[in-house]
């Protein structure tokens, strides 16, 4: 870790202005929110922006119920503000579970949900639950705003579908029907760690306890989060009995693309995808039955 290199700083008064600046500077400008990833990368010399565009006070930090029944989470909401939000806590426990796993209290007070998504680390915890609830990224650019399905947002490690002038403003997620349950489980080496494997699961049951819909999203076992559609499909129409859960877990293992690295081994990650998928589905199932 060396000293922070020289850079310029600007704090635009509006989103439009911010996008204009980003557009002019192109690759040389970076939006600056919590800074918990960006500053570290700058110190390590991994990114070398000439200009930081401070977007902290553009009013992008709200969580609200939209008239169409969907929920909007502002990109600048801190991780802890997501954890503390009553709506998120009651409706989407797996977002809270993922958020609580992240870093330390201090980092969670500064780091933002948008930052976690835009940093696009394969191990990012929030990507999995947000993908599982059909997350849509709303972005603003010089040409106006557009929506990107989160499933198309992650392009590769550290790479997103955003163009250089665009800023993520909010993430819109679907409200879950009744008899739904969600869970996020992950593997880590100690209390403060990046996910070695992170699994988000969401299931919805009918009145008879039959699985109407399911989502399984695998994190840290591929260059981008993996939506394990075939695995989830194996659950539809079942009572989420042991056998069908195990089948889904086994399919999820097959869909994962883990690598060997300093943090873990591919075989261990693949095996753990199965183990953790079972744990996540069992926990989500139990919550669905209680809802």
């Amino acid at each position: 870790m060396s000293n922070l290199p020289h850079f310029d700083y600007i704090k635009p008064c509006s989103l439009k202005e911010a996008c204009m600046i980003m557009s002019e500077k192109g690759e040389l400008a970076k939006p600056f929110a919590g800074g918990t990833d960006l500053i570290v990368q700058m110190r390590a010399g991994k990114v070398k922006p000439e200009l930081l565009v401070d977007i902290k006070e553009l009013g992008l930090d709200k969580i609200q119920h939209l008239s169409n029944g969907k929920i909007s989470i502002g990109a600048l909401c801190t991780i802890n503000s997501v954890i503390e939000d009553d709506l998120i806590r009651t409706k989407f426990p797996f977002i809270v579970e993922a958020a609580e796993e992240m870093a330390s209290m201090q980092i969670r007070n500064r780091g933002t949900i948008g930052g976690n998504i835009c940093n696009a680390a394969p191990s990012a915890d929030l990507a999995q639950p947000l993908l599982a609830v059909g997350g849509i990224a709303k972005v603003e650019g010089v040409k106006g705003s557009r929506e990107i399905d989160l499933s198309k947002f992650f392009v590769g490690p550290g790479k997103t579908a955003l163009s250089t002038d665009e800023i993520l403003t909010e993430i819109i997620i679907d409200e879950l029907p009744k008899h739904s349950g969600t869970a996020y489980v992950r593997l880590k080496r100690n209390a403060m760690d990046l996910a070695l494997v992170g699994i988000a699961a969401s299931v919805t049951l009918d009145e008879d306890g039959i699985c109407l819909s399911a989502k399984i999203v695998l994190g840290a076992v591929g260059p981008t989060p993996i939506i394990a559609e075939e695995a989830a499909a194996a659950l539809i129409g079942t009572k989420l009995d042991k056998q069908s859960i195990e089948k889904a877990a086994s399919l999820a293992e097959d869909l994962s693309k883990p690598i060997d690295d300093i943090r873990s081994k591919a075989w261990y990650r693949r095996k753990s995808v199965g183990t953790l998928t079972i744990k996540a589905l069992e926990s989500a199932h139990k919550r669905a039955q209680d809802n």
């Binding site: 870790m1 060396s2 000293n3 593997l187 080496r189 100690n190 209390a191 403060m192 760690d193 990046l194 300093i262 943090r263 873990s264 081994k265 261990y268 095996k271 753990s272 183990t275 953790l276």
Partner: protein, 766 residues
Amino acid sequence: MSRTSMIGKNMPRIDAVQKATGQTKYLPDMNFPGMLYGKILRSTEKHAVIRKIDVTRARELPGVRAVITGKDIPELLYSFDQTVADKEILCKDKVRFLGDEVAAVAADTEEIAEKALKLIEVEYEPLLTVFDPEEALQDDAVLVHEEKNSNVAIKVVKDFGDVEKGFEESDYIFEDRIVTSRQAHCCLETRGCIAQYHTDGKVTIWGPTQIPHRWRKQVADATGIDRGKINIINTPTGGAFGSRVVMDTKIPIAVYLSKFTKRPVKMVNSREDEFNVSRTRYPFIVYLKTGVTKDGKILAKQARVIADNGAYCDEGAAVLGFAGVFYSVLYDAPNVSFHGDCIYTNNQPCTAFRGFGNPQMHYAFEIHLDRIAKELGIEPKELRLRNANKEGAAKATKANINTCTFNECIEEATKLTQWDKKYLEFKEENKGKEVKKGIGMATMLHTGFTTRFFGFNATDTFIKLSDDGIVSVITPIIEMGQGSSTGVAQIVAEALGVKMDDIRIINTDTDITPYDLGAYGSRHTVVCGHAAMDAALKAKEELLVAASEMFNCDAEELDCINGELFFKNDLNKPLATVGEVTEFTAFKLGRLISGRGRFVDELAPRGLVDEGYSIYIPTYSFGCQIAEVEVDTLTGEVKVEKITAVVDNGRTLNPILAEGQMEGAIAQGMGYALTEELKIENGRVVNNSFTDYKIMHAEDLPEIEVKFVESGDPFGPYGVKGIGECGLVPTAGAITNAVYNATGVLVGELPIKPEKILLGLEEENR
């Protein structure tokens, strides 16, 4: 009022307020007028001949004040132990590991110094490399030091009795190969120094150090500067754990940079430097062979240790010394053989680390012992008790065990944990469960204070009282976070009978403090505490004589307790304060009050003579730790539920500090067991940050119960023994044995990561 009002009492640390309010200035906070910043150009090759170094462009950069290479400094080889000196301060012709020092720069700012490094051009001619110590022993391995005839750097051989005969008499022989990891110290404060070469040829060095007086010798050895001209000022220290025993190469480099520029030069490691180059715990490969009777009596023990020395010699001899002595003495076998070698490789060198080689050996032997227990069908506690040490001379080594609490520690630990019950019940409870409970123990033998390795083990202390009764204690005690200066203040408060608030500890300057070996090997509170107690008792004699003249009585009639003078037969009515007596002494009697105290270790000079291990350790500490764990057999994850630690600390000086020492050591021991491992792949450190070097966080820690057995040591002041290291020594063994108990998988390679446990489980199921 009790005679011992200060000993055994929870006293707040004397440095607590300044540290808690952020006022304490550590070395990185210190800046001097005109100070320059030094940076080191490090080798980008793992093993290579240096063909050419061109510093022209670096010297031309504005703001650069000096650029030096090996050609600019005297040709000297250096090591902590000068008999194995093998390190050039700046490599002239050859580099031996990635990060070896090649050139250095002093500049007006850190940024300029960094820029200048990039302008230095070095041409290397790469050589063959060797990173595995066992490969380095092969005949065709490249020599790390080409002038030597093998890669064996240091050899320690100790044989007691006849192991071959012992094996012949044994009913069973067990053999294991056990591997330990490369643990990094991870001090909150990275290594650093400021050096000032003065115009009269004297040198002052500021920095966090565990052994300032020995650093004078080390700097002199490394630079050729007359030791008498070197003064070390130890700065407040943000953690040490052995990393600040051996002088960092930055220190002589900073001295040279200051010599060439005539200005103070500051050099501080980045966290990456700290992981990449600043030396770790010695990783061991341990081959054990143990002969036992069918009822579990150990008749012969044999250990062959192959330690990765890294590219240069450091504390290898002391590390093998600690490994050998405690392995040889514990469990009192009649025949013992310890052979240890430090082997040169092109890896980062290693150094002293809390417990020296003892945690490595304890992990190896304690898990080996549990395997023996299981295969003999003897309960682990019982197997240990059948091989208990006894007071007096140990069978093989003749080591003098003056206080033996082997049985007491095991009995106490098993009682506190309900071992007998849980050892049976967990097996039942685990049936059909995915998450299994386990309980495991490890016995511990460590030193009560240090070894007699140096042939010297003493120190002095001076105490002076000011006219107002303020007590200055001139002591070599090193405060590196462990609270030892508070301990010494308590001892002085007790022995002299003064208030803690009136005590000033003067301990930061080698021109002032008495000669001493330093704070390592759990020695400082015992050695410095003893000398301080002696000085305080002498000062008290003078104080009572003066007071007797003030009150026209015999000195024997008086006592001084907590800052007040009393008649011994009336402790309820104070006669005067210490300040009133010192003022009377100064202005009515025309003199002052002081005391000089000593700790003498007459056997120490014989420590250098080879007497086996009979007098190597002045006094022993026994202990026992029990770990309770839960193992998820699907993921291999281990959750430590509780650690119970019982240790013989002689006597507790300050319970809250003593427990803190134990808890910190256990946390470090848990990291050693479960996660900590500096990974060097093909000579390159691949996890040089806390993102991937995983230490225990507060959240990772289980309930820790610490219980002290107080044997009352003959050497320590008020009977205390050192406890700086013993908390970490058995932890990895206890946790590994608990996992063994839970799952039947014994992981013989640290750290015991989930992957290894899972592989073991799969093998079992096959």
